[in-house]
Amino acid sequence: MSESAAKVKGAPPVEVHDLTVSYQNKPVLWDVDFELPEGKLIAVVGPNGAGKSTLIKTIMGLIDPVSGHSLIYGRPLEQMRKKIAYVPQRETVDWNFPVSVFDVVLMGRYAHLSLFKRPKKHDKELAMEALEKVGMAEFADRQISQLSGGQQQRVFLARALAQDAEIYFMDEPFAGVDASTEDHILLLLKELRNHGRTVVVVHHDLQTVSGYFDWVMLLNLRLVALGPMETTFTKENLQKAYGGRLNILSQVIELSRKEDFIREPGHE
């Protein structure tokens, strides 16, 4: 909808400065400051209520911060909306809404259409392509109320793909999907990354974080750590992010590390 300005040369895809966000005077993000690298798969990890969803929503302009700001390729969000896509948590929409799977995916194209303009043939082709990519082409005419949780997630992903953005923010795309869907989604994320897109994913499964992602951000009210998986996904940082609650969790990690559950980063 908005004009898309050119990127500022050398600017990172996402930078966040001194960001503080609160709900009714209770801070949920405190002085968060970081830059994300381009073309990486980045996991955002932290306990429930750590502010992960809030961080993404604030960057997407859905929540106004108390202080601080964020930039997309060096420019304010309003100028760069076409460059970023957001995949919210699945529960945020009403899956009984009377639209078809194809309709929902086509909504991804609305970012590129100005007011009053209807989707064109080209937009419909891109939407169909996105559906094929997530393996849901034969569901195009289905009503969204007739989908399983994993299928809903794929539809959301297809919608984001149809947006054809350069930065993707995804809130728990792996939540409640089966193993084969998880593999499929991961493959798509890697394909995006291999095309130079920056993909930021809120992820809850600590056992798969290091195998799936290139970088990790540990968050709990404050930014605990951000960096490449090898140097950042450490027991100390996890302890800091999860606090005392992690005792059991860290044992799980210890265990899974021994059993080689945690794959080496970039093992592809």
Binding site: G61, R81, Y86, D94, F97, D103, A111
Partner: protein, 310 residues
């Protein structure tokens, strides 16, 4: 001839209400129609006092202003007062309605604005409420007003169809894409206000609520496509208007009441016989394959639950 004008008025009112009502029902804000239809009362009263006439356009503007004020205050109260959406709506619209009642009763001697007429309408008198333009008889005034509002609604929905769709389905996505969601939101609320005031002058505040909520809810049970839902909602609004008129004629009762009853009758029929969601279809499906069917409908809960909106 008067039969024709009454039915036409009812059909125009129900079509206008069904179109905007569909989006309210889908946004789970069906009762906003109720709130707005009451809260516009001070707007009408003030317009009435200022112009000292029953001129419709000042009334439309007054009603529109107070309709939007209702929506705005409800949202502010919800955010600031940390109240539930339905609670803040209840507070706002009853207060505004009460203010309207006070204004009317205070100046009752000066204005002949009848509370009875506002609540129950006077559709039976529509044929005699003529619009005389340049000495020419243009036909009943409510027909023109409702026709105008219906055109406005159609224009809004056709031109902003994709925006309305994404606004109703996934507001967060719409905001993140930079779609001017506030414009769409207040555009829709303005349309609801206009439709409400235009309709309730002839059919009364209670029927307005029925027309906004029930035909769209009926359509919702029968289809899973937004465009079909809009068309079906209009269809049931018109069907209720026509059959309601004859019901009133045969039973010698209130036309507005009979139309409201008919919207309920069609809803009941849809509830039982809908091939998508109907009780019978579900029973049948359960019998066909005990356990998991290929598709279990999304349930019959009436979608009037209020959600918190950003």
């Amino acid at each position: 001839m008067s039969t024709f004008w009454i039915i036409l008025t009812a059909c125009l009112a129900s079509s206008a209400c069904a179109l905007v009502g569909s989006f309210l029902v889908l946004r789970k804000q069906a009762m906003l129609g109720d709130a707005i239809s009451h809260a516009v009362l001070p707007g009408i009263a003030i317009a009435f006092l200022l112009t000292a006439s029953r001129n419709t356009f000042p009334m439309l503007i007054g009603a529109g202003a107070f309709g939007l004020l209702t929506v705005y205050l409800t949202e502010k109260l919800q955010l600031r007062g940390r109240l539930m959406n339905d609670a803040s709506m209840g507070i706002v619209f009853t207060t505004l309605f009460a203010i309207g009642v006070i204004i009317i009763t205070m100046f009752a001697s000066q204005v002949d604005l009848d509370q009875e007429c506002i609540l129950y309408g006077e559709i039976a008198y529509v044929p005699w409420d003529l619009w005389i333009f340049n000495g020419m008889n243009m036909g009943p005034r409510p027909v023109w007003i409702l026709g105008f509002v219906l055109m406005l609604n159609l224009l809004f929905i056709v031109s902003c169809y994709k925006e309305l769709k994404i606004y109703a389905f996934d507001r967060q996505l719409a905001v993140s894409m930079g779609i001017p969601i506030m414009l769409i939101h207040y555009g829709l609320m303005g349309s609801v206000s206009f439709s409400t005031i235009a309709a309730f002058e002839s059919v009364g505040a209670i029927l307005v609520v029925a027309l906004i909520v029930v035909p769209p809810a009926t359509a919702y049970l029968l289809t899973r496509r937004l465009s079909h839902l809009l068309m079906l909602a209009v269809f049931f609004g018109i069907l209720s208007s026509i059959s309601g008129y004859y019901l009133a004629y045969w039973t010698n009762s209130s036309i507005a009441g009979a139309i409201a009853v008919m919207t309920g009758v069609y809803f009941g029929l849809a509830l039982f016989f809908s091939p998508v969601d109907g009780i019978l279809a579900k029973k049948y499906r359960r019998k066909q394959n005990t356990g998991k069917g290929p598709y279990e409908g999304p349930g019959l809960e009436l979608r009037t639950k209020q959600t918190i909106n950003i």
